[in-house]
C-alpha cells in the first residue's frame, strides 16, 4: 500500500483525486486542505508521494515543495504539482524546485494516473 498526501484547497477536487487514487487499489490517500495541514500531516506516516496544488493562500505549493526538498526526512518523496494552464511560470518554478511532474486542471483521471506512475517509477 502506498501512502499519498493530497494538498488542495478545494474539498470537491480533493475528494475526486482521493477516489481516483483509491480506485487503483494500491494507494491510501490522505487529504490536507492547506499548507499548514500538510505540515501537520507529513510526520504522521511514511508518504510515498505528495500531490500539491500551487495556488493556495498562506503557504503556496512552491513553498511547500521547497520545505519538503530541504528537509532530510522528506526530500526523497516525489512531488506532483497540480496547477492551471495560466500558471506556466509557477509550473516551471515548481519543476526547478524538484517536482517530478505536473497535471493541469481540469485533468482527466488518466492524466493523473500517468503522472503518478511516472513519479513512482523512480522509487
Amino acid at each position: 500500500m502506498k501512502n499519498v498526501l493530497i494538498v488542495e484547497d478545494s474539498k470537491a477536487i480533493r475528494s475526486m483525486m482521493r477516489v481516483s487514487l483509491e480506485e487503483m487499489g494500491e494507494f491510501f490517500a490522505v487529504e490536507a486542505g492547506n499548507g499548514f495541514e500538510a505540515l501537520k500531516t507529513l510526520p504522521t506516516r511514511r508518504f510515498n508521494l505528495i500531490i500539491t496544488d500551487i495556488n493556495m493562500p498562506d503557504i503556496n505549493g512552491l513553498e511547500l515543495i521547497s520545505f519538503v526538498k530541504s528537509n532530510a526526512a522528506y526530500k526523497d518523496i516525489p512531488l506532483i504539482i497540480v496547477s492551471t494552464e495560466k500558471s506556466e511560470e509557477d509550473q516551471k518554478r515548481g519543476i526547478a524546485l524538484g517536482a517530478t511532474g505536473y497535471v493541469v486542471k481540469p485533468f482527466k483521471k488518466e492524466d493523473l494516473m500517468a503522472a503518478v506512475n511516472k513519479a513512482l517509477e523512480g522509487e
Binding site: K11, I54, N55, L97, P106
Partner: protein, 669 residues
Amino acid sequence: MKSDRSIKDFLAEAEDILETANQTMLSLESEQAAGRSAPDLVNGLFRAIHSFKGLAGMFGLKAPSELSHKLEFLLDEVRLGKTALSRDVLDVLFETVALLGRHVQQVGNKEQPEDIAAALDRIDGILKAKPSTAADRSILDQIEIDRGLLQVLTEYEEYRLKENIREHKNLFTIKALFELTDFEKGIKNLNDVLKKNAEIICTLPTAGAAAGGIGFTIVAGTAMGRDELMSAINMPKVSFDPITYVEGRKVEEQRAVSETGAIKSVSNTVRVDIYKLDGLMNVVGEMHLTKNIIGRIARELRSMHGFAGLSVDLHKAQRSLERKLNDLQEGILEVRMVPIGQIFTRLSQMVRKYAKEVGKEIDLHLSGEETELDKLMIEDLADPLMHLIRNAIDHGIELPEIRKQQGKPEHGVVKLAAFPKGNHVVITVEDDGAGIETKNILAKAVQKAVLPSDHGLDPETDRKEILDIIFLPGFTTRETVTEISGRGVGLDVVKRNVSKLSGMIDIDTETGMGTKFIITLPITLAIIKALVVEAGGEVFAVPLSAVLEIIQATHDQVETVETREVMAIRGDTIPLYRLTKAFKLTPKPSSNSFYLILVGLAERRLGIMVDGLRDQQEIVIKPLGKRISEIPGIAGATELGDRRGVVLVLDVESLIEGALKRSVVVSRQ
C-alpha cells in the same frame, strides 16, 4: 463521478464560493469609492474565481468553466496591476459573477446553461482596451534578499513584492520557530497580528530548532519602522531582519496609517443538507405521534382498577418526553433557520444592475438582515422579492427629472425590511415613488376584461378590494413585456409563491408618496401546532398560528348578506366558511349549536364552522401529490396517530382569500 451526490457537492461548494465573491466585490466597491486600493480583496476575488473555475472544470461543466476561465484571466491582469480596476471593470465583474450564479442554479435544476457569448465579449472588450505592460524583473535587484526566497514566490507573490518595493515600503524577513505539535496556533496568532500591521508577501516553512520543531520565514512589507513593528507584534521569540535596499535607502517614515489586512475570518460552521434536516423533523413529528399514543394509554389506564399509580407515572413520563421533544424540535428548527440577509445580498446586486438599465438612481435601504427564516422558505422568497423590487424600480420610482419637479430627492428610495412578529416574519418592500391610483387600476381592469364595465366599485370607498385586483392573473400595468414580466410573471405569481409558503401579501399605497408591499410568513413550515376539528363526520386540522378564538354559537346567529353567510362578533361582521359545504359533507343533523373557529392573518378574519373540537397537537404537514396540492384551501395532509388515517390540513390563508372576494370578481376566476 457525476452522480447526484457529487453534483450536490458541486452546488454546495459553488454557492459558497460565489457568495464569498459577491461579498468581496461589494467590499471592493466601497474601498474604491473611499479612494483606497485593496490588493487583498482583489486577490481574494481572484482566488474565489480560480477555485470556481477549477471546480466547474472538474465536473465537466463547460459554460461556467469557460466563463470563469475568462474572468479569472481578467482578475489576474487586475491583481498583477496590468489592468486598472475602473468603474467599467467593476460592473463587468458584478455582471459576470451574477451570470455564474445563474449557471449554478441551472446546473441544480438540470437546465441548459445561459449563453456566455455576450459576457465573454464584454470581458474581451476590457482586455483589449488596456495594453499590458511587460514584467519588470530588475526591480527585484533593488533589494538584498535571499535568492532562495525569490525562487519560491509565485508570480502573484513576486508582483506584490515588486509593488512594495515600488512604494518603498519597509521590508522584513521575519523568522519564528514553533513545536511541531502545536505550531498552528502560534503561526495563526502571528499571521493575524502581522496582517493588521503589514502585508504578508509570502510564508516559507523551514526546519525547526530541533527534531520536533518547525519554523516559518515570512517576508512582509509595511510602512512601519522595525521597532514600531516589533512592539506591535509583541512576540519576543520572533526575529525581524530588515531587507535593505541596494542604494542604501531604507525608508523609516513612521506613517500613522496602518496597512489594511485581511478581509474576513472564516467561521466555524458546518454545511448541512437541508433535506437531512427535513428528515429529522419528520422523525420528531413521528415521535410526537408516539408520545400521543402514550398519553392515550395513560388515560385509559387511569380508568382501570389497580393501574392508577402506573398511569400517573406514565403520564409524567409522557410530559417529560414532550418537553424533550420540544427542545429537540427547537434545536433542529434553529439549525434550519438562516438570516434573510443571505438573499438581501443577492437582491442588492440586482438593484444596482437594474437601476442602471432603466436609467434611475436608486438608494436601497436594507434592515433586519439578521431576521431568521427557514432555509427552504428563503430560497422560495428570492423570486417574489426580486419581482416586487423590480416593480418598484420600474413602475414605482419616477425618473429623476420628475422627482425633482415634485420636490423629491433625485435618488429613489427602496426599502427592504424584515422583522419577526410572533410566530411570523414580516417582510416589506417599500418605495417612495408615485404610488398606485385606484382609478387607474379600475380603468385597466375593465380594459383587460378582468372586471366588467358595470363593476360598481368606487375608487374611494372600495380601495382595499380594488388594490387586490392587481394580484389577479392577467393584470399588468405595462403594455410592453419587458424583461421583468418577460416570462409572463405578474403580481399574481408573486402572490401564489407567497401563498405556497402559507403567507399573505398586502399592499399599502398613497398617490405621490409611494407603495409598500407587506408579506407575512410563518417562520417555518415544518412542525406546527394544530387544532383538530370535526365537521360532517370528517376530521380536519387547522394550524393554530392562525386561530384567534374559538366561539360556540347557534345557527340563528348566522346571517346572510348578498349570498354570503356572515356573523356579527363584537360589532365586526365576520364572513363564515362551512367546512361541510366546501367538502360536500353531510352536516351533523340534530345540533343547533356549532363551533366557530375564528382565524385571521394580518387584518383579515374568517369564521370556520365546525361541528366539534377534538384536540390540539403538533403535526407535521406532509405535502400531497402534485395534482392535489394546487387546490386552494388545503395545505397538505397529516396523520394523527390514532388509526384514523390521513387527515387534511386546512390552508387558512387561501380560505381567507377565497372568502373575501366579492362574488363579481370570483365569477371571473
